[in-house]
């Protein structure tokens, strides 16, 4: 199966495959190694499924491993990064088994990424249209010149930029338009999955709303699966279907968005929600989370959240809780949910 031509999958994804996930990540673990220092466990044993047209929110404070996870999916880790365990299956292809040449052909054409602050990543001395055209030709060398221009116009229109701005340069675009252009570039080869790392940070709320609106339209119209990396729960509440809350490199909670916000089971998720200002209750004191996330090279022995957790017990200091499966597709790694858990998985001892 693995030797099958990659391009065949483009057609395969067109019929809706509701049951089968587009992207399936299982027990993924990433270390940062910089001898002689001990390895930093940036991501440990993270699993999730992403269906067609689904938006997954990857949430956590800075340094919780969410960006590392995103980069590992793309196999774009910095030099010290090592994928030490797990599997990443993109439409039946095991990405971690591919050699770099095959991965390079899949990257962008099947799984594309919009980077944080991407709008500043455009080449300032080349027309935006040319830069998108280059992304197209990179993966389809047979495409003709006229067809490329047609495709660029199509992409620009898709992200809400008038086609006549194709020949303009990045400085003639506003910040929001540059971010749209970057999304157009990510869409150039019809990928099945887009990983968007903080796509609206540093943008105004109105522009942020425009970008979020664009992303939800793309998933509706193209069936695009989106992984949205963010620290802003407000964005998650706006457009995500499922949420994966990360803390100290592990999954704290993985749940449908409504449950995560209205019946959160992990104390960290609860604390994050309490720290969020509520426009309906102005002047109310916000609850901050005292302390700071753990350093990934010096993790506490027990539960990683225990040092900051208001409900921490004796037991939490000694052993790390497994990720317990709860009713309604909710998962939480906390001893408090052990009683109601249907099952456990994702503990470090499994194969």
């Amino acid at each position: 199966m693995r030797t099958k031509d990659v391009t065949a999958h483009v057609d395969e994804k067109m019929p809706p495959t509701a049951a089968k996930p587009v992207l399936s990540v299982c027990s993924l673990s990433v270390d940062y190694v910089a001898p002689p220092k001990p390895a930093a466990h940036a991501v440990q044993d993270v699993s999730f499924d992403l269906g067609r047209g689904e938006v997954l929110g990857l949430v956590g404070e800075s340094g919780c491993g969410k960006s590392t996870l995103a980069l590992a999916l793309m196999r774009l880790l910095p030099p010290a990064g090592r994928i030490v365990n797990g599997s990443v299956r993109l439409q039946d292809i095991e990405l971690l088994d591919l050699d770099e040449a095959r991965m390079a052909s899949l990257r962008w054409s099947q799984i594309a990424m919009v980077f944080q602050g991407a709008m500043n990543a455009l080449n300032p001395v080349r027309a935006v249209g040319d830069q998108i055209a280059e992304a197209i030709r990179q993966h389809d060398r047979t495409i003709g010149k006229a067809a490329t221009v047609r495709r660029v116009d199509e992409l620009l229109e898709l992200v809400g930029i008038a086609a006549n701005r194709r020949t303009q340069y990045p400085f003639q675009y506003s910040g929001g338009m540059r971010q749209r252009a970057m999304i157009a570039m990510a869409l150039a080869c019809n990928p099945a999955v887009i990983v968007a790392d903080e796509p609206t940070t540093a943008l105004d709320v109105m522009i942020q709303a425009q970008i979020l609106d664009l992303l939800s339209r793309l998933r509706r119209e193209l069936g695009l699966a989106i992984i949205l990396v963010t620290h802003d729960l407000g964005i998650v509440a706006e457009i995500c279907d499922r949420v994966l809350v990360m803390y100290g490199g592990v999954t704290a909670e993985y749940a449908p968005v409504d449950l995560a916000f209205n019946a959160p089971r992990h104390p960290y998720t609860q604390a994050l929600l309490h720290a969020f200002p509520d426009p309906d209750h102005p002047q109310a004191k916000l609850n901050s989370i005292p302390g700071a996330p753990p350093r990934l090279d010096a993790l506490p022995p027990g539960c990683r959240f225990a040092p900051r957790c208001p409900q921490a017990m004796e037991r939490c200091q000694q052993a790390a809780p497994a990720l317990y499966a709860l009713p309604d597709d909710q998962f939480a790694s906390c001893f408090l949910v052990e009683d109601t858990a249907e099952d456990r998985r994702g503990s470090l001892d499994h194969g």
Partner: protein, 317 residues
């Protein structure tokens, strides 16, 4: 305990001491300086009182008596080489000091004051930049009485342009950083801001630049001397080359008379380049590469066989 910030001068120097290439360059330069300083001790002869030379002493090949051979006048090449190092290095240091001082002040004021001052200073710099240095230097030195200090002055006054441009752009970028606006908002004056906020961030770059300007100045001095415009009372390496070249060293087979000063120049220039590159690596740690091509390194997980467990279906039921 961390005692300084990675971007500062002290930390730059400390990191530099771990840079192999830079340390090799520094050792090479220190050796050259030591030879120059201790020339009277090391040199087998006194250049002021040369031994009486006959026609038989001209272009003698290297021997125990003359380790580097003798030159066209029957003088010991090693002695001239050691004393020439003094002249060449001195010209290099003094001229680059002048160049860096002018360039630094020009760059700082143009970048910091901005507006019309910047415009005038930079147009002037551009004019200096397009005038070919060497011909102008040749004309000036030829018109004055050849003296070491004239050469130092000419090289210094013509060599500041690249420094000015570099320092200006660094000043501009530091000036636009938020902490400068914050200092202004606090009420700090221009002089305070330059001294406390701009200069510390410009300084490491200035040091790198100085090292490169030194090698350039030594090269320029050699060129002028080779063209016969050197100070005859202070023979430098360039002048040794000039004498050897114009007085038939090659036809007489006395290659050693050319080799010693040539190696000396290359040695010092190479030393400065290595130091400069080492410093640059320390200041620009982002030169580190990406490991996209080395897949085997990135993925270290144990090989997996068709493990098809989805999160919804716990694998340890």
């Amino acid at each position: 305990m961390e005692s300084s910030h990675p971007g500062g001068l002290t930390a730059t120097m400390r990191n530099f001491s771990r840079n192999r290439m830079g340390m090799v360059g520094l050792a090479m330069l220190l050796l050259a300086i030591a030879l120059a300083v201790f020339a009277p001790v090391i040199a087998p002869y006194d250049p002021a009182k040369p031994p009486r030379a006959t026609i038989m002493d001209i272009y003698l090949p290297p021997s125990a008596e003359h380790p580097f051979g003798t030159d066209d006048a029957g003088q010991d090449v090693l002695t001239n080489f050691l004393y020439g190092a003094r002249v060449s290095l001195m010209v290099g240091f003094f001229a680059s000091f002048i160049a860096v001082a002018i360039g630094g002040v020009m760059g700082l004021s143009a970048g910091f004051i901005g507006g019309r001052t910047d415009n005038i200073l930079m147009r002037f710099t551009d004019i200096m930049l397009v005038i070919p240095d060497l011909p102008l230097a040749v004309v000036i030195v030829a018109l004055t009485k050849p003296s070491l200090w004239v050469i130092v002055l000419v090289i210094g006054l013509l060599g500041w342009t690249s420094t000015a441009r570099l320092i200006r752009s660094q000043t501009l970028s530091v000036k636009q950083r938020r902490f400068v606006t914050r200092a202004r908002a606090v009420g700090a004056g221009n002089f305070y801001i330059i001294r406390r906020h701009i200069l510390p961030l410009v300084l490491p770059l200035l040091v790198v630049n100085t090292v490169l300007v030194i090698s350039l100045a030594i090269l320029n001095e050699s060129t002028l001397s080779f063209l016969g415009l050197g100070d005859p009372t202070a023979p430098s390496w360039g002048q040794m080359l000039n004498f050897a070249f114009t007085r038939g060293a090659m036809s007489a087979g006395g290659w050693w008379a050319l080799l010693a000063p040539g190696i000396g120049i290359v040695w010092v220039v190479l030393a400065c380049t290595l130091i400069g590159q080492g410093l640059e690596q320390v200041l620009n740690p982002r030169l580190a590469s990406h490991n996209l091509s080395s897949t085997k390194q990135m993925i270290l997980r144990p090989p997996r066989t068709q493990s098809q467990h989805a999160p919804q279906a716990p694998d340890q039921a």
